[in-house]
């Protein structure tokens, strides 16, 4: 059991909702559902030279999902697609109970307590899955 699942950092990230909103002119866009809980994330990305110029998300989901999306809104701008993939992989690693890989976004470590709660993995993964899908477009 983790008392820290809803630690301050996660709650603040979710509240801040970095990058929330739409990007009507984005060429890369993906929507991902979690059929188990009905949550839904849309991510829209504008890339230039393989670097993120802008990223916006709309999240119908829980706090964990919103916090994950908020990390993307905060950190993705300026990152290249390799970095996005590396950070998506970092989320998987942290959920698997592994330490945060080097050179990835420090905020992802806030999800460490979620590793105890398999049923919530997809909440955290959803925005990063949307990024992966958007990059495939």
């Amino acid at each position: 059991m983790s008392d820290e699942l809803y630690q301050q950092a996660i709650v603040e990230l979710a509240r801040a909702a970095h990058g929330a909103g739409r990007l009507d002119n984005a060429k890369r866009r993906a929507t991902v559902d979690n059929p188990l809980c009905g949550d839904r994330v849309t991510v829209e990305i504008i890339l230039a030279n393989d670097h993120v110029v802008n990223l916006r998300h709309t999240v119908k989901g829980c706090l964990l999902c919103k916090a994950a999306a908020s990390i993307l809104g905060l950190r993705a701008p300026g990152a290249d697609s390799d970095a996005l993939h590396a950070n998506a992989a970092a989320v998987d690693a942290v959920l698997a109970g592994k330490p945060l890989p080097r050179n990835t976004w420090a905020e992802i470590a806030s999800f460490q307590p979620v590793a105890q709660h398999k049923s919530r993995f997809d909440c955290v993964r959803l925005p990063f899955q949307a990024v992966r899908d958007a990059l495939k477009e």
């Binding site: 699942l5 809803y6 009905g38």
Partner: protein
């Protein structure tokens, strides 16, 4: 009041579980209730003294197993006030029971025939009828739900028609706790020549039900919600109703005679019990029914109602909380769904579990049409059993208040 929930708790080892050092407050009884020692023991005794396959066997263990299985059928028949034990079909659960009726009616239905359900049904009382719609072309009509979370019986008149063949409704809603007023439904059905099926999953845990007094044709429920093992449930059907039903599944035990070119089926209930049934689970269900029936029903109901009131009052005092369902205590059970503004039900449930060891359920509760009716993605739900106490309710209220402080 002689009834003492604390005393009851001693019969449920799991209620003494500690989660992260905190005492468990189990308020997820509508999903699965816990199992008393008496039921566990009955199952164990069966498995270690009478385990064998049923029917046809003439050795001593097989005779014991068959007798135990049929005795369970008789106990359930009494629990439901059925006319005959053979009106009781053992299934895997409520879902299995409703599917037996839906699939078994296929050959009696034609395109354009109508099935009436409601907007508050559990998916298990929607999808089986939808499958008939896809297979046969019957129409599915839904009674609307009032703002209080009840089936709107004022709409019976315009919804039930001469083409209605079946009205299938929850006896008690697993989301709002509302108790259905069955009499007008049965009257409407009789007037139109339809049958009535009640999904009793949330009703039977509260004590014996009188299917004959209700006047319905079919009644379905699950063991695991009434203090019995998983994997067992019941379809009760009026003798004539069962006799008209075709079997949904084929296999051993449900046949009269099998040749490669021709097969005839056994009479109910065996016709619907293809394959080796969940024998030990049926024995456990029988014991659970006995256990429930032995509780002081009035006292337990009063206890649960008082706790429900305490919950409703407490929730009303927390800013941002909205109860989805009857706000009062009339015609409702201790199932309370609510939302907390700005907090996702999964977060709320996880939070109160983590911090207060309060077990709730969050989400759509297998009732997506009802969620849509209220414009919600989901709710958090607390549901009571006789062993719940003021301490459980207080932990819930404290947890929700704290969630509002931390998560909003």
């Amino acid at each position: 009041m002689a009834f003492d929930p604390e005393q009851l708790r001693a019969e449920f080892p799991i209620l003494n579980t500690r989660l992260g050092g905190k005492a468990l407050h189990y308020l997820d009884n509508a999903a699965s209730a816990q199992i008393p020692v008496a039921v566990i023991d009955a199952v164990m005794r069966h498995e270690t003294a009478a385990r064998a396959n049923v029917s046809r066997g003439v050795h001593s263990l097989a005779e014991r197993a068959t007798e135990a299985y049929e005795a369970a059928r008789s106990i359930i028949a009494r629990y439901l006030n059925a006319a005959l034990p053979d009106e009781v079909v053992f299934t895997g659960g409520t879902t299995g029971a409703i599917n037996l009726v839906a699939q078994g009616s296929a050959s009696q239905l034609k395109p354009g025939d109508e099935i009436v359900i409601s907007e508050l049904e559990h998916h298990s009382n929607i999808v089986p009828w939808h499958m008939l719609r896809e297979r046969i072309g019957v129409a599915l009509r839904a009674l609307p739900v009032t703002d209080e979370g009840r089936v709107d019986l004022a709409a019976l008149d315009r919804t039930v028609t001469k083409r209605t063949r079946m009205i299938a409704l929850a006896h008690v809603s697993n989301v709002t706790g509302a108790v259905l007023d069955v009499a007008p439904v049965v009257a409407a059905a009789r007037a139109s020549g339809a049958q009535v099926l009640l999904d009793g999953a949330q009703a039977v845990p509260h004590g014996p039900v009188d299917v004959r007094a209700l006047g319905v044709d079919f009644y379905a429920f699950s063991g695991h919600k009434m203090f019995a093992p998983n994997g067992i449930g019941v379809l009760w059907g009026k003798r004539e109703a069962l006799a008209r039903l075709a079997p949904a599944f084929g296999g051993g035990g449900m046949i009269r005679e099998v040749a490669l070119d021709q097969i005839s089926y056994a009479d109910p209930p065996r016709r619907f019990e293809a394959g080796t049934p969940p024998i030990a689970q049926a024995v456990g269900l029988g014991e659970a029914a006995r256990w429930v029936a032995a509780l002081e029903r009035e006292a337990v109901a009063a206890h649960e109602l008082r706790l429900t009131g305490r919950m409703l009052d407490g929730l009303a005092d927390i800013r941002g909380v909205r109860v989805v369902g009857p706000q009062g205590l009339q015609a409702r059970r201790g199932v309370v769904s609510f939302t907390l503004d700005g907090v996702h039900p999964h977060d709320l449930c996880q939070f109160v579990d983590d911090r207060f060891a309060v077990a709730l359920r969050g989400g759509h509760h297998c009732a997506q049409p009802l969620m849509r009716r209220f414009g919600l993605a989901g709710t958090s739900r607390a549901s009571l059993a006789p062993y719940n106490t003021d301490a459980d309710v207080d932990a819930l209220l404290q947890g929700v208040a704290e969630a509002r402080r931390v998560l909003v």
